[in-house]
């Protein structure tokens, strides 16, 4: 689809959408999908939480076209999101949060005040403090501190807002990742991408609206639950696009079937379904016909879009891609392509950032440096590339992990780990956001002199979710879905938009 076609298509769909709102019982019901009672509930402004005074955002849900583009309740600066999640939790102390004081304490016993009443995933007994395992310098007009581990990215600091004081209350990977992406540390709630595609639909009906790309040799620790649709209709779950096998599950025709035959076969199915409709008069049949047409279009366009080989050599060079491999660089380039083609939410997970120090690949001096090398060029290229295409302003890019790492060296089961490493840390870590109406060259939040606690500008997962939704045009307190007799929202009962970083 060209941009013009896309626009024309959107206009038609918007007209349809307007026509659809609240006409039939189904819309009435499906608007809240759980039915009348739930809807009544929405209108009562009632809930379990403190939502009583908030009006609820109404989403026109059309079961026949659940992914049609919809307008947000207010004009958002961002149209799409690329979320780069470093699964395993990268060390803020070796990337962005430079702590000279910590260097001075290197090798000393951890003061009891830092341990009293705290629970760590692995540290037991008294660990030793561990100074920064990388050198830092200031970059750009914003004079942001970046370590030697990210030499390319250091040139981009004037385009991003750093959040230096992110906190969480989950110190294990799976629950912490669930909290970041679904607003609860337990299984079963919809992920941000599901909420976003439920609320906004997607601009290109030939591609999934919510795409997930993984690298690093493993899924994120919480598995597919972090891109699950929870209680939202399953059409809103993330669609995993893969570097090996079918780019989208089952998108490839069976071996030996050519395009013409597939087309003929879908035509035959739909003609027979048309006859069935004549006999039964059930609109659900028309919806099925539409889904088969869409499946066909998706079969044609998805593999093409998913293929990064048609990008020019300089782009490959810029991103540092490795053709044919399931790697982060390829995924980042693909993310840009997808956003360009109108995909609403692209979620990347790169696994392998869990630098405990229990093995070389899990250490700060070897493993972490390698991981940094694998993302440094791609994340830099992504920002530059989006910028040069004029897409950065409407694309929100988020980078981060699920928690931070301790200023102490890990002593697993009471004994020092063989390599330099840090345990999981909930009190403070760094994330950054760029594009999509986020301030450029800004730092929000600060940690104490050893990077243990946040001292100002504290934010948490709910705040980040609220900010993402805000940039897309949603008030996170009003964007709810009725389930189990009450309106649920992504941010549960928390979340404040981080206005400080909004341009």
């Amino acid at each position: 689809m060209t941009r013009d076609e896309l626009n024309a298509y959107k206009l038609v769909k918007e007209a349809q959408e307007a026509q659809l709102s609240g006409v039939t019982r189904r819309h009435f019901l499906k608007e809240s999908a759980m039915g009348l009672g739930a809807l009544a509930m929405g209108s009562l402004l009632g809930s379990c939480g403190n939502l009583f005074s908030s009006p609820q955002t109404k989403i026109a849900y059309d079961p026949a076209h659940p992914l049609l583009p919809k307008s947000p309740p207010f004009v958002g600066k961002a149209k799409s999101v690329i979320y780069l999640h470093m699964a395993g939790a990268p060390s803020q102390l070796e990337l962005f949060d430079f702590k000279p004081e910590l260097m001075k304490m290197d090798g000393q016993d951890c003061p009891p005040s830092l341990l009293a009443g705290k629970q760590f995933a692995f540290i037991t007994g008294v660990p030793k403090m561990l100074g920064p395992q990388a050198s830092f310098a200031k970059y750009g007009q914003s004079a942001a501190l970046v370590s030697e581990n990210l030499p390319h990215f250091s040139t981009m600091v004037d385009d991003v807002s750093f959040l230096k004081a992110v906190k969480t209350d989950q110190f294990n990977h799976a629950p912490a990742q669930l909290l970041v992406h679904t607003g609860t540390p337990r299984l079963g709630r919809p992920s941000i991408g599901s909420w976003v595609t439920y609320g906004l639909g997607t601009e290109n009906q030939n591609l999934p609206g919510y795409v997930v790309l993984t690298s690093g040799g493993s899924f994120p620790d919480a598995g597919k639950s972090v891109w699950g649709s929870g209680f939202l209709p399953s059409v809103y779950q993330g669609v995993q696009c893969r570097s090996e096998g079918d780019p989208v599950l089952f998108i490839k025709d069976p071996d030996g079937m050519n395009r013409d035959l597939r087309k003929a076969s879908i035509q035959a199915i739909n003609e027979a379904n048309e006859q069935q409709y004549q006999e039964y008069n059930d609109p659900e049949i028309l919806s099925r016909i539409a889904q088969y047409e869409m499946a066909y279009r998706m079969q044609i366009s998805a593999p093409e879009v998913m293929n990064i080989n048609d990008e020019p050599a300089y782009i490959h060079e810029m991103y540092g891609t490795q053709p044919g491999k399931a790697c982060f660089a390829n995924n980042v380039l693909l993310a840009r392509k997808l956003v360009e083609k109108g995909v609403r939410y692209v979620q990347l997970f790169d696994w392998g950032w869990d630098a405990h120090g229990d093995s070389p690949s899990n250490s700060l001096n070897i493993g972490l440096k390698n991981k940094c090398r694998s993302i440094d060029k791609p994340i830099t290229a992504l920002l530059l590339d989006l910028k040069q295409r004029g897409l950065l302003e409407e694309t929100l890019v988020v980078w981060g992990g699920e928690f931070g790492r301790t200023p102490m060296m890990e002593n697993r089961n009471g004994a020092q780990n063989p390599f330099k490493g840090r345990d999981h840390h909930t009190e403070a870590f760094t994330m950054w956001m760029a594009g999509g109406g986020i301030k450029k060259g800004f730092t929000h939040g600060e940690t104490d002199e050893i990077g243990y606690s946040a001292v100002s500008g504290k934010v948490d997962a709910f705040d980040i979710q609220a900010t993402i939704l805000n940039q897309l045009g949603f008030n996170h307190e009003q964007f709810t879905y009725p389930f189990q007799g009450r309106p649920f929202r992504l941010t549960d009962v928390g979340g404040k938009v981080i206005h400080e970083i909004i341009a």
């Binding site: 739930a38 402004l45 809930s47 799976a174 059409v235 059930d282 609109p283 099925r288």
Partner: protein
């Protein structure tokens, strides 16, 4: 002038008299709390005055709250006196600071009148219908030859009321397919199908068909699919590495229970409390795995108590949502804003589940050991011997320990560690040299033995156990045997009394100052020694005991109650957070439903089960009949299967729902099969599902049931039907889950090397219910068709219609493979021409002849494909699954047609 004035006065009088008359009548009208008052309270008052918020100390959630003194010190509602009630005065006030609802539009006059009259009539509270016991419902007084049984009368009455006419009965082919998919989830035997299709007496044949389907062993498989969503059954534990869990014996228990038509009250009782029934059988223990299907978290560094608590909360929520259509989880954080449940009642209820031995340990203890027949005989001999030489109580203890390993102290709960750690904070207790660990508050009354499980391969170590302090009196000391594997050992000591802290010590001079972890503990079991020492046969029985203890047998996680000395205290969690424990509570059900608790019910899960299955329990029977209805029609009589409370959707046919609930209990004695038979015998059920223009306009979603419902098949039905049609469906039942074809790269959990290994032979063609279910990466084609991920109780699947579903049935190799087998089956019929073959295939799918129009479509497709495959034999071979093998272009073309036909709306939909 005067006359005009008089006239004016007179008319004022008339109007005034009229007004008095009106108010007189409205005052006379009996106000119904549920119908008239509750909607106003819910809409206009409760968001500030009830549940979460109680502004001004006033709440209208419960009567006693509404009549209690507010912050002002006076009650706001004075029954019988609206004029004195602040509640009414405030509605009428002119002062915006006074007038309620505060900063919201005023109530209209009708609403104020209703509330005033209600206060005047005594401000009586009424209960929501779903919280009142099921009573006998009168049958509607209707008569029509269309009606086939009493249930139809309710439907007919409503149709008549709205001037709808019911639809005629669907044709035999449609009805055969509908009732088969509904009752057994797949197609019946060819013989049964032909019997029904060709019988002269359709009425009789239909009943025979229904009875045969209900008697089929496939019936249990189909209804188990439904139940496993409630039970959140999966073959893995969930979270990070999402490792395997062997709990399929529970799935098989459910299938057997449905097949033998276990009464629903017993079905629930065994799942909630099977372990606490007298002399529980293996099956009754396995039934309790219902509550062990909760996700558990083995991720390194997680807090076991946190995830044990999460599992307990999950059990509470599943019990309410799944069995009682009530959103109880709201009450976890605060009193229910709309329904009569209070915050602390959540924790009282949770107490039923809070005293089991499971503690989120990786080994999933407690596990039921499923002994084979000969081991069971040995166990029986041993226990009857113990009974003779000692007591029945002693025999029961021996049996419980050998069957379940309980009560045992998980080593992860040891504390006051010196030179010892709990590995990764959650795996097990590990010792270095010179280690000490405490087992807190162990009941040593009458105890003279410790059995424990450990592993150590460093010779030279000595262990000792002390009571009360690390250097306290020595109970026993012994050289620690070493070996390469975990072993169970017995340590005997003098008979003890009382409850004590027990300290375990280890030292090994050989190790010196080594920091190495050298002893790994699993569990500790303090018990009396096997009785009968010195009596003839003792040695042999001791050996039997040991053999049974060490027997390697299949196991299933089950519920086992804590013994008295290990009971946990139960607390309210402030704002629902498990870390902020509030006041202590005792076990109990919510006050508003306590009337259904039998007087003799014990204060444990047996009592809970008695309450659930008591005839007065208003929710359990209604929930189940509503669920059965939903399974047949795609939508429940109460659409919100998860919520029958005041915020759920109102039932479309409340009287019918109640009538069925009453029948289930009183007429059918909780028999699901009998209830289902009555449902599918209804004329309502048998109607044609064609949508007339009138119905399309007036009742598109068929809430009046003036026609049959059209429902997209469930994930399981789509697979099972396709297997049926293609003739490859394996008839094998039960056993470990299987792995049918799945694309590469679906499983990719960290720290988990488990692989999807495609099952061989017939095992790849088992019914969907047997497919291995991994929580964090479920079977993709099932998920595409809205299968539940089973991480929590899912009372209802929301059906969607997406292109990804089309891609599954078009392209998934599993479905292409089935199309090939389908063609093999067609070829075996010996039909000669392509047209005849297509027609045959169509009737195999749908039991009816293909229409000319449809045949033409598929003939054309066939010819197109034939042309391509004739020209390109390589593609034909590839399409048939083996590029090396030469194939007939005709076969390939037919497979292509079969693949398309299996995608038809009429095939993936229950017409």
């Amino acid at each position: 002038m005067v006359s005009k004035r008089k006239l004016f006065v007179a008319s004022v009088f008339v109007i005034a008299a009229g007004l008095i008359l009106i108010s007189f009548f409205s005052a006379e009208k009996q106000i119904d709390f549920n119908a008239d008052v509750k909607p106003i309270l819910n809409k206009k008052c409760i968001s500030c005055h009830g549940g979460v918020k109680q502004q001004g100390g006033f709440s209208v959630l419960f009567r006693e709250e509404a009549l209690a003194a507010t912050k002002s010190g006076k009650p706001a509602i004075i029954p019988g006196h609206p004029e004195e009630s602040e509640f009414i005065k405030r509605l009428k006030s002119d002062d915006p600071e006074e007038r309620m609802p505060y900063k919201h539009p005023a109530l209209d006059d009708d609403e104020i009148d209703i509330l005033s009259s209600w206060v005047k009539q005594g401000a009586k509270w009424g209960d929501h219908w779903a919280y009142l016991p099921v009573k006998a419902t009168e049958l509607p007084d209707v008569d029509d030859q269309w009606i086939r049984n009493d249930l139809d009368k309710f439907i007919y009455a409503k149709l008549e009321e709205h001037a709808f006419k019911p639809s005629p009965q669907a044709d035999r082919a449609t009805l055969l397919r509908r009732v088969s998919l509904d009752l057994i989830g797949m197609y019946p035997s060819e013989k049964l199908a032909q019997y029904y299709l060709n019988s002269k007496d359709e009425v009789k044949a239909y009943e025979v068909l229904v009875d045969s389907l209900l008697a089929s062993s496939h019936y249990g498989e189909r209804w188990t699919s439904m139940w496993l969503d409630i039970a959140r059954y999966a073959d893995t534990k969930g979270y990070e590495s999402d490792p395997n869990r062997n709990i399929w014996a529970y799935r098989d228990w459910v299938i057997r229970a449905f097949n033998k038509d276990m009464p629903y009250n017993q079905f629930i009782t065994e799942q909630i409390a099977g372990d606490l029934l007298p002399n529980p059988t293996d099956a009754q223990y396995i039934a309790t795995a219902f509550s062990r299907n909760t996700p558990t978290n083995d991720e390194g560094g997680t807090n076991n108590e946190e995830f044990r608590t999460a599992a307990v909360l999950d059990r509470v929520n599943a019990t309410w949502e799944g069995l009682m259509s009530t959103t109880f989880s709201c009450v976890q954080c605060h009193s229910h804003p709309y329904d009569p449940f209070k915050h602390d009642e959540y924790y009282k209820f949770m107490s039923y589940f809070n005293n089991t031995r499971d503690e989120d340990v990786a080994a999933e203890y407690p596990l039921l050991k499923q002994f084979n027949d000969s081991l069971t005989t040995e166990l029986d001999k041993l226990t009857s011997w113990v009974k003779t030489v000692s007591s029945e109580q002693a025999a029961n203890k021996v049996k419980l320990f050998l069957k379940t390993g309980q009560p045992a102290i998980n080593s992860t709960t040891a504390d006051e560690l010196q030179n010892a750690v709990i590995g990764n904070n959650n795996i097990a207790l590990y010792f270095r040299n010179n280690a000490v660990a405490r087992l807190k508050q162990v009941d040593l009354q009458g105890i003279d033995q410790l059995i424990f499980r450990y592993n150590s391969n460093r010779p030279g170590g000595k262990m000792s156990i002390h009571i009360d302090s690390p250097n306290g009196p020595v109970l026993a000391s012994w050289p620690l045997a070493t070996g390469s594997a975990y072993q169970n050992v017995y340590i005997e000591f003098k008979k003890q009394t009382g409850v004590h802290d027990v300290f375990i010590r280890y030292s090994n001079p050989v190790l010196g100052k080594s920091e190495e972890l050298v002893v790994f503990f699993d569990w500790f079991h303090f018990s009396p020694q096997l009785p009968g020492k010195g009596k003839p046969g003792y040695a042999a029985y001791k050996k039997t005991f040991n053999d049974l203890l060490n027997a390697q047998v299949p196991t299933t996680p089950v519920m086992i109650e804590n013994p008295a000395a290990m009971q946990r205290k139960n607390h309210v969690f402030e704002r629902g957070a498990w870390t902020s424990k509030g006041k202590e509570v005792q076990v109990g059900v919510p006050g508003s439903l306590a009337y259904a608790m039998p007087k003799n019910a014990p204060q444990n899960r047996v009592g809970l089960a008695m309450w659930l299955t008591d005839k007065r329990n208003p929710l359990v029977s209604r929930t189940m009949v509503n669920r059965l209805w939903e399974q047949l029609y795609g939508v429940g009589l109460v659409e919100t299967l998860e919520d029958m409370g005041t915020q759920g959707m109102a039932p479309t046919h409340k009287e019918l729902l109640d009538y069925m609930a009453y029948q289930l209990i009183y007429k059918y004695n909780w028999s699901i099969k009998k209830m289902l038979k009555e449902l599918v015998m209804m004329a309502t059920y048998r109607q044609d599902s064609k949508v007339s223009e009138e119905l399309k306009e007036k009742d598109l979603f068929n809430k009046f049931y003036a026609r049959g419902s059209r429902v997209r098949l469930s994930a399981e039905q789509i697979r099972d039907q396709c297997l049926s049609i293609s003739g490859v469906l394996s008839q094998k039942m039960y056993g470990p889950p299987v792995m049918p074809w799945q694309p590469e790269g679906i499983w990719f959990s960290p720290y988990n090397g488990a692989k999807w290994v495609k099952s061989d032979g017939n095992d790849q063609y088992r019914r969907g219910i047997y497919t291995y279910w991994k929580r964090t990466a479920p079977y993709p084609s099932a998920i595409a068709f809205d299968g539940a991920s089973r991480v929590a109780c899912s009372p209802r699947r929301i059906r969607t219609n997406t292109p990804l579903q089309a891609l599954v049935t078009l392209n998934d190799s599993a479905y292409v493979d089935m199309a090939r087998h389908f063609v093999t089956r067609i070829q075996q019929t010996g039909e000669k021409t392509a047209a005849l073959k297509i027609a045959k295939g169509y009737s195999m799918m749908l039991y009816k002849p293909i229409s000319k129009n449809r045949l033409k479509i598929f003939e054309e497709l066939y010819n197109k494909a034939l042309l391509v495959f004739r020209k390109d034999s390589k593609s034909a071979s590839a399409f048939m699954g083996d590029p090396q093998k030469s194939v007939k272009a005709e076969d390939a073309a037919l497979v292509l047609v079969a693949n398309a036909m299996l995608n038809l709306d009429e095939v993936v939909t229950k017409n």
